[in-house]
Symmetry: C2
Subunit: 150 residues, 2 copies
């Protein structure tokens, strides 16, 4: 896809991630865009804010978009490479593309998604990397909890 | 695991599934049990009830359990074989075991989970099968929407 468009969409997810950081939450954000480029939903990790472990950024954006008849042609934009939970979401619902802010600090199922026909675009964005590096260094307990690591 | 215990736990998930049917929802229920056998959370698919496509039975039960430091030794009990979304949840959070009410009408990632070390117990329960058979026959549109099939 067009890299400029991908970066513009990433800015939406980054706004969510920064908002989550400001709330003392896990600083990961996401946005779901329609096949026509319209923003369908956006969200951030809400483990801390709502005490809800099921609200990863991607699932929050998916939820925010409400019921959809089809996800064909949609794009999930996320500041961090999707974990297995969120990768499973993408695969099950047939989301066509994933734009990843960064995959340096964590990598879940992005190769698995690519092997199953999902277009994966990794932007390697410095702000996304910095957000996660700082968070993981400051709150390793919270980060491990969020990805189910004992 | 002990089959009698598995069937007792399935009864909790089945109660959720029946409740969902009564609400006009997707009749799938789930429950998360701790390593010590205590019920941590229970839930049902809430797509219709809450207009929330992210609320599959398993993710609803996971959410209901709240924040947990570890899922080691826990069991996710579900009336229907988990889709990729819910299978991803199980893998990411290290849930140790999945009890499946039935896998005749639908099968998602249960073999993938087993290949990754999750204990999978399939009970082939007639009431679970009947709930789904009737639902899929009566509401194919809703069922296809729930699993992201165009």
């Amino acid at each position: 896809m067009d890299q400029e468009l991908a970066r513009r969409w990433l800015a939406t997810a980054l706004g969510e991630a920064r908002g989550g950081r400001g709330e003392g939450g896990v600083p990961i954000g996401a946005a779901l865009y329609g096949a026509d480029g319209v923003l369908l939903g956006r969200g951030r990790n809400r483990r801390v804010q709502d005490g809800d472990p099921s609200a990863h950024a991607e699932t929050a954006a998916f939820r925010d978009a409400g019921r959809q008849r089809s996800y064909r042609g949609t794009t999930m934009v996320t500041t961090l490479s999707p974990c297995w939970y969120c990768s499973g979401l993408v695969r099950q619902f047939g989301i066509s593309r994933v734009v990843v802010g960064e995959d340096r600090t964590f990598r879940g199922g992005q190769e698995w998604l690519a092997a199953h026909g999902v277009e994966v675009v990794v932007l390697d964005d410095p702000e996304c990397v910095e957000l996660m590096r700082t968070f993981v260094a400051e709150r390793p307990d919270l980060w491990n909890e969020d990805i189910g690591h004992d």
